[in-house]
Every structure is written in C-alpha cells, then in structure tokens.
C-alpha cells in the first residue's frame, strides 16, 4: 500500500536503521518537520543552518537510530531540539557579555520547556498535515476551532456518525505516530 503514509514511513525507518535509506527520501519525509521547528525557535538564517546540521549529523550518526525507541521523525526532532538549545545557549553566552546576570539565568530556565512544547506542536501538526483531507478538516474543526461534533456535522453536511468515525480514525493515526513520545 504505497499510498498509506504510515506504511511508507515505517519502511523508510527500517531502511534508515539498516543503513540503506536514501537521505533525500528521509529529508523529503521529515525536512518540513525539522525546518518548521527550527523556524519557530530561531531566526530564519539560523533555522536554515540548524536544519542542515540536523540532517548532516543524523546521517553521520545513523547507526545510533533505534526504531524500537521511537520513529525516525521523533529521533530527528530529538536531535533538532538539542541543536536548537545549543544555539540558544551560545547566543545567550554572547548576549551575556552585554546583559546582566538575572536576565541570563531567567532565559536559561525557560528555553528547554519552550523548545519541548514547540517540538510537540510540530510533531502533531506534521502528522495532521498527512491525514486524508476530510479527517484533517474535522479534527481541525473539533480541536483547533473547538466546535462540537454536531456543529461540525451541520457545517460540513456530513452525517454525525461519519464525523465521529473520521475524528476517531484521525486520533488513532496521531496516536500511532506519537505514542512512543508520550507513552
């Protein structure tokens, strides 16, 4: 079933773990996830650089990837988080020469949870983007727009049962893709 994104990404993960994956395929599957996480934490030029660093270091360190501990997207996001935090710390060290110590300590306390939360959001947004159109639309209406299932049925013209089963299937897919992170 090549059209099923889950099947495709699982076989890509397996190929990557075995050292047979084409890096371009890995980048096509996960470049957007890594880049958008970087874009939300860093300035545009640094985001480009860090995205590049993440894929280069992931490729060089691909022997460290263990599919039993999570999927490839999660592994790449883990590397991305560390790189972002390294960059933020290094920027702060430079800023620290000009700023007072209180500002420095406060910024250090807040950066890592913020990057974690951004990473969670990007993982969810990325899986959501890969859902079939109708499932993505109803999930968006239910959780981002905060509409009830009844309201969604009325606005889309879909039967209420279809709305519920679309949402359930979408949630199942999201859980499948994210479960290792949040088990």
């Amino acid at each position: 079933m090549p059209a099923d994104p889950t099947t495709t990404s699982e076989s890509l993960d397996a190929a990557f773990a075995a050292g047979h994956a084409d890096l371009r395929a890995v980048y096509d599957a996960h470049g957007k996830l890594v880049y958008n996480l970087c874009r939300r934490a860093l300035d545009p030029d640094t985001a480009n650089d860090v995205t590049q660093e993440v894929f280069v270091s992931a490729w060089k360190g691909r022997g460290q990837f263990d599919p039993a501990k999570g999927n490839l997207g999660q592994w790449l996001v883990g590397i991305t988080k560390r790189r972002i935090i390294d960059h933020l710390r290094s920027e702060r060290r430079h800023a620290d020469r000009r700023a007072d110590e209180d500002t420095y300590i406060q910024a250090d306390v807040h950066s890592e949870p913020t990057v974690d939360r951004l990473a969670d959001k990007m993982l969810v947004a990325n899986v959501l983007e890969q859902l079939p159109d109708r499932s993505r639309t109803v999930i968006h209406m239910a959780y981002v727009d905060d509409l009830t299932h009844q309201q969604i049925a009325e606005q889309t013209g879909l039967p209420l049962g279809t709305v519920k089963s679309d949402i359930r299937r979408g949630l199942q897919r999201l859980r499948q893709q994210l479960e290792v992170n949040h088990a």
Binding site: Y35, G61, L171, L174, R175, H182
Partner: protein, 218 residues
C-alpha cells in the same frame, strides 16, 4: 466542552496536544532549496574517494566548506594552537612520534567496542605523517561481513564532528601493517580525534555512525 466532542480517556494525551495548537502552528513552510543543497554539498565533502590501489584522495579544499561552519574556525584555531604546542614539546630530533592517543569506548558507541582497547601514535617519517595503531585488542569478529575502519575527525569545542576522513580498513591479521598514511590536506593538528568504527560491507563509504573507540591526539 460538550461530552460528545471528546474521546477521553483513550485519546486524552492526543486531544490535549491538539487543543494546544494555534492555527499558525499548522502553517508548515517548505524549507528553502538551499537547505537541501547545503546538506548534499556537505556530505559529499565527507566521502573519501578511492582510486587505483585504494589510496585515499582528498577532494575537500577548505574553501568549499559551508558558510555556517565559519564560526567553528575559532574553536579549530584553539585546537590547532594547543596541538601545535604539544607537538613542539613532544617532537625532537631523536623521536619521530609526534603525539599519541589512548582510544576508549564511550556511552553511545557500538557495544562491540565495550571491551576493546587500542592506542594511536602520530608518527613523522621524514616529513610524511602516519597514524600507527598499537597495543590493540580489537573486535574483528564482532560482525560478519564488516570491517573495522580508522578515521581522523575534526571536532568543534563541544566535541561535535565538523569533518572527517577515512584512513582505511584495519587489517585483522595480528602481524599485518597497522600504519596508515595521513591523507594530504588533512592536518592532524586540526583532525585531532582518532576514531575506529564498524563498517558493514554495504557499499556506503561514509562513516556508519557505529564508533567503537575514540581518543584525541595529544
């Protein structure tokens, strides 16, 4: 929130994460083409190219490096200065051994290296530099259809790999030659880290990421 719009507790975590999303979180941009071009360019630099009898050819003039690496040059300069100092102290007319490194296993390495040991010596033989592997207890039999390969790595101040070059496979024969020429263009004062990795015979010339031992020349 009416009851019919939640599937708790089965999907509780997922629903919480979805509710945390803002519409702007869903606007995912495609990275600019320059990002992939940079990745491809940089990894091509790291692939040693072999010709003829397997001599390693270096095709990586420094000018081709990615611009983002420039900030690392300060760290590299520090390593260079420190290493140059060590070399000055250790090299003397009576000794051709310029520096040495105890190679050690570290967490995150391939488990095959757990009880392995070796040391590396940088030797100057009439102006030509070699790395010699001494006192080795190396796991040549850890895996079928794989070799142990020797690398020199340039690391930044945080220990991250900036660049690396293969010196070749290590001969499993205990009486075999354990001396490796340092490829032209790769200064051991910059490429200070000696690394041994397990390399499956899979046709991929890049580092497998499965290091077993590593140490810094000093």
């Amino acid at each position: 929130m009416p009851d019919d719009s939640t599937f708790e507790p089965e999907f509780g975590d997922i629903e919480t994460m979805l509710r945390d999303l803002d519409p702007t979180d869903l606007e995912l941009e495609t990275p600019p083409d320059s990002v992939w071009e940079g990745i491809a360019a940089q990894l091509a630099l790291d692939e040693p190219q072999t010709v003829g009898g397997g001599a390693t050819v270096v095709a990586a003039p420094f000018g081709r490096r990615r611009s983002w690496m420039l900030p690392l040059s300060a760290a590299a300069a520090v390593i260079l200065v420190v290493a140059a100092g060590v070399f000055a102290v250790t090299s003397s007319p009576s000794s051709s051994e310029l520096a040495s490194a105890d190679l050690a296993f570290a967490p995150g390495f391939d488990p095959a290296g757990e009880s392995a040991a070796a040391s590396a010596v940088l030797v100057d033989d009439d102006g030509t530099e070699f790395i010699r592997i001494d006192d080795d207890a190396l796991p040549f039999d850890a895996e079928d259809d794989a070799s142990l390969e020797l690398w020199l790595i340039e690391a930044d101040a945080d220990g991250n790999v900036v660049d690396l070059v293969s010196l070749g496979d290590i001969d499993p024969d205990p009486d075999g030659d354990r001396t490796f020429a340092v490829p032209a263009g790769y200064d051991p004062a910059v490429f200070t880290v000696v690394d041994i990795s397990i390399e499956p015979h899979d046709g991929d010339a890049t580092h497998s990421g499965r290091s077993i031992l590593r140490g810094a020349l000093a």
